[in-house]
Subunit: 127 residues, 2 copies
Amino acid sequence: MHDQLSFTFAALADPTRRAILARLALGETSVTELAMPFEMSMPAVSKHLKVLERAGLIGRGREAQWRPCRLEAGPLKEAASWIEEYRRFWEERLDRLDAYLREIQAARTKSKTNGSGKKRSKTKPKG
Amino acid sequence: MHDQLSFTFAALADPTRRAILARLALGETSVTELAMPFEMSMPAVSKHLKVLERAGLIGRGREAQWRPCRLEAGPLKEAASWIEEYRRFWEERLDRLDAYLREIQAARTKSKTNGSGKKRSKTKPKG
């Protein structure tokens, strides 16, 4: 059951890991700097980074000794594509709500015009 | 750490649960029918359904005794919105690849038109 998509979603299922990705969206940085805003031990932060790295969501530089972390958006693209398949479901739900509101509006307008008597205005045809 | 988005991503981090959602995208159905394509015990399927239900990704009917399951796309919309924030990163990556390919193409064209090669304007002074 260790498919890429499951690794990606599992990696995203934690607010600290999502906050790490949000920080890396601003630019690459060291693990020490990454750890600063979190009240966490370095091993705890390293554990989160390993989950993100295994999912391919972050890359670590090999050139410098501080091995900067950077965001890798490839797996996010795959996850977005999977979710997009369901877009019509949440849009349909909004459409249904919209249709329902229009229905109420129409019923109100009808009851108003029935009450006062509808007047039809005639317009002179052009030409 | 039990925020809605984490519940949603955790629920999606399993191929069986994603397959259940894909089945429910075709229409609501009973748990027995849902379990059929999976070589799984009913308690195992029920466990997956509970994870999906807790995340709000499925709803269970209360009217009928067989309590049909249906897809609820609300949490998927929220997850899609979160991922969309990172769209520019995967698009930038494709843009960079595109720019790189154009660069190679330009360099090739240039080396062809220059013909025999580059003239050196400076020579390194000896010793």
